[in-house]
Amino acid sequence: MNGFVTINRYARALSVPLSFAQTELRSGKSIIIAKLPLALHQRFELRSLTIAVISILTPGVIPIYLNTAMGLASAGLYRSLMVTGPLAFAAFTDQNCVTNPFSPCVVETPGIYRVIVSNNTSNADLSVVVTGSLKLYY
């Protein structure tokens, strides 16, 4: 699929913002950043989702992970509300983490999709930033 893009085609491709400025996220809690219903014949791609943990707000804590694979905190694309079942996610492991942009998550199945950021510890409050974008074709 490498044809030229017409004006009509270009007008039907949108970047949907996923923006969550620095916010306190309490231990074990999650917040829905965005919610997008997808209809038949629509498609979106997740190619960029970055999570950054700015600081650990609980002083002197040794984090107890609720789910080690999800790091201290994670941001992901979900079709359900089950935090352990993302379609794609970025888990904080170092100072910053991003989804692999060269392995996009492409979704065409109609439904309601959510982007959720979650704190995966049971004892550490965090200060978190999430930035990303969904490319929607309709």
Binding site: F4, Q22, T50, F102, S133
Partner: protein, 162 residues
């Protein structure tokens, strides 16, 4: 100038730089957006708007003695690479948009920041106020100078710049 192809279109992502109206306390700062880029990506930053809605004091009483950095206005939005912690107004920022008074301030669109250097790019909005250092301060040093502000902007990420 080449034509736009489907591959090129899917390789371009517009990322938000957005903060809804937020109260920012004196001297405090907030990371609005963080984007990690790796080779061969290219980041292009053109559009940002900083709006200062309200102040906890009469801004006519604010003097240079109240400013942490004399050249950064009342509040500012700065772009930094590999920011981890510390005062966001220190030297080394890639770009800055200042708000010298209450109102709406935007970057000139022809002032483009382009970067292909891998790293984490952070947009940080900061309140540039501190207790007055003037001998006879117009605002008592015990008074906190807080602002209500909002940020709206966008950065373009080309995933394959080659």
């Amino acid at each position: 100038m080449a034509y736009l192809t489907e591959n090129m279109l899917s390789n371009v992502v517009d990322l938000p730089i957005a903060l809804p109206a937020t109260d920012l306390r004196m001297g405090d700062w907030v990371v609005v957006s963080a984007i990690k880029i790796t080779a061969p990506m290219r980041l292009t930053y053109k559009l940002a708007v900083l709006q200062l809605f309200a102040s906890s004091v009469d801004t006519g009483l604010i003097t240079n003695g109240n400013k942490i950095y004399g050249n950064l206005g009342l509040a500012y939005l700065t772009l930094r690479r590999n920011y981890s912690s510390g005062n966001a107004g220190a030297a080394g920022g890639l770009d800055v948009l200042t708000a010298p008074s209450i109102g709406l301030f935007s970057r000139p669109l022809n002032n483009i920041v382009v970067s292909v250097t891998p790293g984490v790019y952070s947009w940080i909005v900061a309140n540039n106020m501190q207790p007055s250092t003037d001998a006879t301060p117009l605002i008592p040093p015990s008074t906190s100078i807080d602002f209500r502000l909002a940020v709206t902007g966008s950065a373009r990420l080309e995933l394959d710049s080659t």
